[in-house]
């Protein structure tokens, strides 16, 4: 035990919460039975309780072999908000290969692996649990003191009151489109989450598509994430929230591991998984939007600051995501109920004409739609747009009901759950975002209007021969 160690004044493990966010890599020193030390970085350390920490074990490393011979180890931790440094004397206690602690660390490691598409290669083997014998704050003979607010956390002092206000605003929204905008605006205005996005699960249950975002250079509406891939995809697959406070560090580590695997032929050359998100994000929280035990979507918030979010953020966002999920389900139920009612036919109007027609091209193979040479949208939303435009140019129709769209056989919408309303919102937002010569306006419950601002020339295209 270190001379001068006073258990009364020594830091407690609970005081070191920031150190476990992985922003500054932890260091571990072990020693073999013959007294040869080994020193390396740890990929992930977690606090288990007031007396224990857990370390991720992905490889049967020298550290593991040393601990089998000599259970004592020394760990260096740094608080990323102050750069206060701590040395922990620890002793190996046990290894877990299942259970909540293992799952927690596995989630951490999977998140690292997901950054470079190595979910199937880079996996947690075990969670090694250590008892902390003592903690030494390494004196800092500093040149400078940390400035207050080096890492600013948003002021969320009255979070409960603000959450209640957001809930009240959401409860007053007349439709899903308004609710989605109100939710993301409220997250920023009331709770300080400046960068957020909402993704919904598609009809197949295999992909998420971005319905709305706030605080990004490009709105990214319509961008997709495969369920199970990346942090957002993993949250969808597991139905559990995930929080990362050191994306840059994790990305660096993940790339280094991937390079090593590639150099030794374990995996082929790859690239980082492109996901919609904030450039330079260092912190991210993603929570599942669930209702009645079913996943509806994922709510994501991001920050360029490290360790920007904590458990409180997870809790707040989970509540908001739940409200959104409920609203989506209520909207869906209303749509289905109204689908049983008779629809009215709309009046035909002459299409916009003129010499400078915009070329709208449709690729049936994937439902993608281009205006002139610019990609607009694809998939279900693309097929909906194409169907509407055909009716507009052929019949002069510009008023539609959700019901008739739902019954359009060319769209091949699934009978059980078609997500039509959210697809129409996605289409509306995408058309607005891209400044397209056609827009969608809601004209009543279950009704909408196509507003065309330029003459259109429609063309069905085939993909070029390979």
């Amino acid at each position: 035990m270190t001379a001068g160690y006073d258990p009364e004044t020594a830091p407690r493990l609970g005081d070191l919460a920031n150190c476990f966010e992985g922003v500054v890599p932890a260091v571990i020193a072990t020693a073999s039975a013959d007294g040869t030390p080994n020193v390396t970085y740890l990929s992930r350390v977690r606090m288990v309780d007031d007396e224990r920490i857990a370390v991720s074990n992905q490889f049967f490393s020298k550290t593991s072999r040393n601990l089998a011979e000599n259970p004592r180890a020394s760990v260096l931790l740094v608080d990323p908000t102050t750069y206060d440094q701590f040395r922990l004397t620890i002793v190996y206690e046990r290894t877990e290969r299942r259970g909540p602690l293992f799952e927690q660390l596995r989630s951490d490691v999977d998140a690292i692996a997901a950054l470079t598409g190595m979910e199937n290669v880079f996996k947690l083997r075990a969670a090694d649990v250590y008892r902390v014998l003592h903690i030494e704050a390494i004196p800092l003979e500093t040149r400078t003191s940390p400035a207050p607010g080096d890492v600013e956390r948003r002021a969320r002092g009255a979070a409960t009151v603000q959450l209640a206000e957001l809930s009240a605003r959401l409860s007053r929204c007349p439709d899903l489109d308004t609710l989605v905008s109100t939710a993301l605006d409220g997250l920023a205005d009331l709770l300080g989450y400046e960068h957020s996005m909402l993704l919904l699960l598609d009809e197949t249950g295999k992909r998420l598509y971005t319905l709305a975002s706030r605080g990004y250079d490009a709105e990214g509406v319509g961008s997709e994430v495969v369920v199970g891939e990346g942090l957002t995809g993993m949250v969808a697959a597991r139905g559990a929230a995930m929080r990362l406070g050191s994306l840059r560090q994790m990305g660096k580590y993940s790339r280094a591991v991937r390079r090593t695997f590639e150099e030794h032929g374990h995996v082929g050359p790859g690239h980082e998984v492109p996901v919609p998100g904030l450039a330079g994000a260092d912190s991210q929280v993603a929570v599942p939007a669930m209702v009645l035990g079913q996943l509806v979507g994922v709510l994501v918030v991001e920050s360029t600051e490290p360790v920007a979010f904590d458990e409180t953020d997870e809790a707040l966002l989970t509540v908001v995501a739940g409200i959104i999920a409920s609203a989506v389900e209520i909207d869906f139920a209303q749509e289905r109920a109204e689908a049983a009612e008779p629809s009215t036919t709309s009046t035909a109007r002459p299409p916009v004409t003129g010499n400078d027609a915009r070329l709208v091209r449709f690729f049936p193979v994937d439902g993608s739609v281009f205006v002139d040479t610019d990609y607009l949208i694809k998939g279900v939303a693309g097929r909906i747009l194409w169907s509407l435009l055909r009716q507009y140019t052929n019949d002069g129709r510009d008023e539609f009901t959700n019901k008739e769209v739902r019954l359009d056989p060319t769209l091949e919408l699934p009978e059980f759950r078609d997500n039509l309303e959210s697809r129409l919102i996605l289409l509306k937002r995408r058309l607005d975002e891209r400044g397209a010569p056609v827009r969608i306006e809601k004209s009543g419950r279950g009704r909408f209007r196509l507003v065309v601002s330029a003459p259109l020339r429609l063309e069905v295209s085939s993909p070029p021969e390979p």
Binding site: I28, A29, A31, G35, P37, S61, V78, A256, H264
Partner: protein, 157 residues
């Protein structure tokens, strides 16, 4: 024994972490603030340690066993050397200059790669150094991944 390439890596502004072990088998972790491969003795290195880190200095004085891992900040390419401390002395002016240069390179690399403000990282830097000469026995590739801990090719002789 230490190849020019490895020497260049260790002498750059890479992050240096140190493990020592006392006679009772208890290890200690710390950081180093500069490393130089001795020009006339390429199997020996001179590392700079925090002069106020009593447990480390005690370990080195009593058992001498030491491991140092140098990690390139942007790529995490890492090399670990293991050996024995054979001498200590207060840091010379040349050591102080080397530490200053090392810290500047390291802090610049961390700041550029991770965005951490320089003044925060500078809080880790000790005020006084002690220089320790290590006779290096073995070198390992310590880059994160399945090969971490493998002897460096130059060592397989």
């Amino acid at each position: 024994m230490i190849s020019p390439e490895t020497a260049a890596h260790l002498e750059s502004g890479c992050s240096l972490i140190v493990g020592t072990v006392g006679p009772d088998g208890e290890p200690h972790a710390t950081r180093s603030w500069g490393l130089r491969v001795l020009p006339d003795e390429p199997s020996r290195v001179r590392v700079l340690l925090d002069a106020s880190d009593a447990p480390i200095l005690e370990d080195l004085a009593r058992s001498g066993a030491i491991a140092v891992t140098g990690t390139d900040v942007p790529t995490l390419r890492s090399v670990q050397l293991k050996g024995r401390a054979i001498s200590f002395e207060p840091a010379t002016d040349a050591d102080e200059d080397r530490a200053l240069q090392f810290c500047d390179q390291l802090i610049t690399a961390i700041n550029a790669t991770d965005g951490t403000p320089r003044h925060l990282i500078e809080r880790l830097v000790p005020r006084r150094y002690i220089a320790c000469v290590i006779a290096v026995d073995t070198l390992f590739d310590q880059t994160p991944g399945p090969r971490a801990g493998a002897p460096l090719p130059a060592q397989v002789q």
